[in-house]
């Protein structure tokens, strides 16, 4: 940050200081005041992504408000997602890392383990823990996050959108307008779902669409199908002898056979086998009357786009259907992606960094980055929030109709909390839309299956994981596209044998031991 930049921002602070103090509450202001007499600690942040709508961080009022609240002087550098990890590796090699290394893919276990072993990052203990109670609270709120600890210590702030675990990526979407046209209720069982797909096919639909052309193959598309037989489509499940990998459980065989039936009866849009990214565009465009894809806030955005397309389509998400096997549910996954670390090399100030992280993770920090400064970017009267035109000048999105969050809200401590995502999506919408949106959330969450071990890996499992993924991807595609049910069953047995023989048994045994230590 240039000296000129510092002066710019301090000058700005003098003007808006009063507003900021009101916005951030007495506690934060007091913390800032306590540090004012001292030299302001400098906190350097690296975060993946782009500056977005912020033209100059040195003049950004929201960042200035964070500085005021934390008493620090913050230097934020956004680095492209594509080269972010390389930049971190290069920085570590040169012995200079930022104070906050934000949003490292938590799946990069080798890199993270090496950073911990080399002392590049600091644990949230002692003074650091005292400066970041919100991070500790997040771990206490969700026991699954125990899996992220290394040697029993917290090293990362999960970059989250909620504290709990939520539905996965295999939510079944259907066209409600078509259900109404056929005189059908939203399907509650797979039989009813298949009946809808058959009616849709006769009506000219291409079938259900999902994305099975990418590296992940069927991916989350089988979630509800295996869930109907008691197996969450991810992570590890309790077995008689400890813990077992989900994909080789007997219930998965039944789930895949059910999925195969859908394929064999030609209820699947042929494009599904080619789509490498998202089936969303195909679904919104109107020919498939059903889709298996992400849920959450996407549901509202899909409806927005359907309205824009002007074909009268109405989006609906199904609660996980029943197959009569005594179980049903979508997989639950922890509501975060990536972890934010504290630099611990010479020149780093992990306590000051923890203070910044703690503020950004607080209710007031989330509100600041989601809405902006009160009476400047928004006003709140009788619990009603009204966004003001000045938001655009303060770095908030400027696209037409966009009510989104400030770039500081993403890829440092969160991906915008779900409540503020919902606020942005529902802002200006009528009551009917809000009710429908709430109903869709309820549907997705009606039946959920708990999963374990998605965040942790033993050495043997780390080594085997890529082989496992490859075997699962290939094996499942072959099973669901088999000529008949007997062949599909035989292929599943072959897949399990291959998986065990390729090293799965040893890796599974080690993981079972580790998960028994965590969960009993």
């Amino acid at each position: 940050m240039s000296g000129r930049g510092r002066m710019d921002r301090r000058g700005f602070l003098k003007i808006t200081g009063g507003v900021s103090v009101v916005a951030l509450g007495g506690r934060s202001a007091a913390a800032g005041a306590a540090r004012r007499g001292q030299e302001r600690p400098r906190v350097r942040i690296w975060s993946p992504g782009d500056n977005g709508t912020v033209a100059d961080w040195n003049r950004d009022p929201i960042l200035a408000a964070v500085e005021e609240a934390t008493g620090g002087e913050i230097e934020l550098t956004k680095i492209g997602f594509d080269t972010y990890l390389d930049q971190i590796n290069a920085a570590i090699a040169s012995g200079e890392v930022p104070d906050i290394i934000a949003t490292v893919d938590h799946g990069q276990r080798t890199v993270i383990g090496q950073m911990v072993r080399d002392g590049v990052v600091a644990p949230f203990t002692g003074d650091i823990a005292a400066a970041a109670p919100n991070v500790l609270a997040q771990y206490q709120a969700n026991p699954t996050l125990e899996e992220l600890k290394i040697d029993g210590e917290i090293y990362m702030k999960p970059v989250s959108w909620a504290d709990d675990n939520g539905p996965g990526f295999g939510i079944i979407h259907v066209r409600k307008d078509k259900l109404d046209a056929y005189g059908l209720e939203p399907p509650d069982t797979f039989e009813q779902y298949f009946a809808f797909l058959k009616a849709a096919k006769e009506d000219g639909s291409t079938g259900v669409v999902f994305g099975a052309g990418g590296e992940g193959g069927l991916g989350g598309a089988v979630e509800a199908f295996t869930g109907a037989y008691g197996v969450p489509a991810g992570g590890w499940v309790r077995t008689d002898g400890g813990w077992g990998f989900w994909a080789v459980q007997p219930g998965v065989r039944d789930g895949l056979l059910l999925f195969r039936r859908m394929v064999a009866e030609e209820l699947v849009d042929p494009a599904s086998w080619e789509i490498t990214d998202s089936p969303r565009d195909t679904y919104v465009a109107g020919r498939p009357y059903s889709m298996i894809w992400n849920g959450g806030g996407h549901v509202g955005r899909i409806q927005n786009d359907m309205d824009l397309a002007g074909v009268g389509a109405q989006e609906w998400t199904l609660a996980a259907p029943d197959a009569g096997a005594g179980s049903r549910g979508y997989l639950t996954v922890p509501s975060f992606f990536g972890g934010t670390f504290l630099g611990n090399l010479e020149g780093n100030d992990p306590v000051a960094a923890a203070t910044v992280i703690n503020f950004l993770s607080s209710e007031e920090g989330y509100k600041l980055t989601a809405l902006g400064l009160p009476d400047r970017d928004y006003e709140e009267r009788d619990g009603q929030i009204t966004l003001l035109p000045g938001r655009a000048a303060d770095g908030f999105p400027t696209e037409a109709g966009d009510t989104g969050a400030h770039p500081l809200a993403s890829a440092i401590v969160s991906w915008v909390p779900q409540e503020w995502q919902d606020f942005a999506l529902l802002y200006g919408k009528d009551e009917a839309f809000a009710t429908w949106y709430g109903d869709m959330w309820d549907n997705q969450r009606q039946y959920l299956l708990e999963s374990f071990g998605q965040l942790t890996a033993t050495p043997a499992w780390s080594d085997f994981q890529s082989t496992s993924t490859e075997l699962v991807t290939r094996g499942f595609l072959e099973i669901v596209r088999s000529g008949d049910e007997a062949e599909a069953g035989a292929r599943f047995d072959e897949f399990v044998t291959a998986w065990r023989g390729a090293g799965g048994d040893e890796a599974q045994s080690e993981m079972s031991e580790a998960l028994t230590g965590l969960y009993g």
């Binding site: 993946p48 992504g49 782009d50 956004k78 955005r301 696209e399």
Partner: protein
């Protein structure tokens, strides 16, 4: 098959396809083949341009966007509204012009020296240039070297490290080796030194080769993305880095569910179009040199 096109009969003795002349089956097959090749080459460009001006409502109405529908400059406005882009294109232009000039001078001088059989340890020096064609130092050693030289976060980090590309060096060296030695010997007899021979005789008569490697280096500089994103900070990022970061970030954030619309491919197409256009403008002027230059360097004399 008879062509109906009108036009002057080709006067050149080399021209063989004459308008108004009846095509035989072979010529028709060749014409058809070339047309297919042209379509295969031109369609991706057409597709990108078409997508970049497609309004969002038209985009969401179609599962496949193979053909133009509607017209809007919204995405171009969104991209160009980013204040950093002016600076980024400045950096790109400077990097391309200065970098290419330095590349060409350094590469041709180096290649000329290595082409001289009287150069001591010429083979060993050539070997040193040969090694990087097969083995790369990798990110960390490369980064630490640039850091140790003090180039990190300076404009020169964008041009100095890749000053001489081995592949181009060997193409130029091969060309210089086939250069008529009588001309050089005559210059030596007239008392010219090696610098004078190079600058006043060899360089001016090797323009196709110079233009060729200038074009190749220039395209490389313009498209360079990875190293600029690693070696310099945001204020020195060229347009490729800024535009790629904008596109990827939008895609990642909105894919995660942030923002009210999913970024259509049209935005990325507008970004791609902005990067392609300058190259499209320059390429036709240098194309004839490119073909000649490649041929010159690829045949050992």
């Amino acid at each position: 098959m008879r062509t109906e096109l009108e036009g002057p009969r080709a006067e050149s003795g080399r021209a063989r396809l004459v308008w108004g002349q009846r095509w035989d089956a072979g010529q028709a097959a060749i014409g058809l083949g070339l047309a297919v090749v042209f379509m295969a080459m031109a369609y991706p460009l057409f597709y990108v341009l078409s997508l970049s001006v497609m309004p969002y409502d038209e985009y969401v109405r179609r599962a496949i966007h193979a053909w133009p529908a509607g017209f809007t400059l919204t995405y171009y406005r969104e991209v160009l509204a980013d204040g950093r882009l002016v600076r980024a294109f400045e950096v790109s232009i400077l990097k391309t012009v200065i970098g290419t000039a330095l590349n060409v001078v350094a590469t041709t001088m180096c290649a000329y020296a290595l082409s001289r059989r009287e150069l001591r340890c010429g083979r060993l020096l050539s070997l040193l240039f040969l090694v990087p064609l097969f083995v790369s130092g990798g990110l960390i050693p490369y980064y630490l070297t640039i850091r140790a030289t003090g180039l990190l976060n300076s404009f020169w980090a964008l041009v100095i490290p890749g000053l001489v590309a081995s592949f181009y060096l060997f193409i130029v060296r091969t060309h210089f080796r086939s250069y008529p030695q009588e001309v050089i010997e005559a210059a030596v007899m007239d008392g010219a030194g090696q610098f004078r021979i190079f600058w006043q005789i060899v360089w001016p008569t090797s323009k196709p080769m110079v233009a060729t490697i200038a074009l190749l280096y220039g395209t490389g500089h313009w498209n360079d993305y990875y190293w600029p994103s690693i070696l310099v900070q945001a204020d020195l990022h060229p347009a490729t880095v800024v535009l790629q970061n904008i596109t990827t970030s939008r895609s990642v954030l909105q894919g995660l569910g942030l923002g009210t619309q999913l970024t259509p491919q049209s935005f990325a197409a507008a970004v791609a179009a902005l990067l392609i256009v300058p190259v499209l403008i320059v390429y036709p002027f240098a194309q004839r040199h490119l073909v000649r230059g490649i041929l010159l360097g690829s045949v050992k004399g």
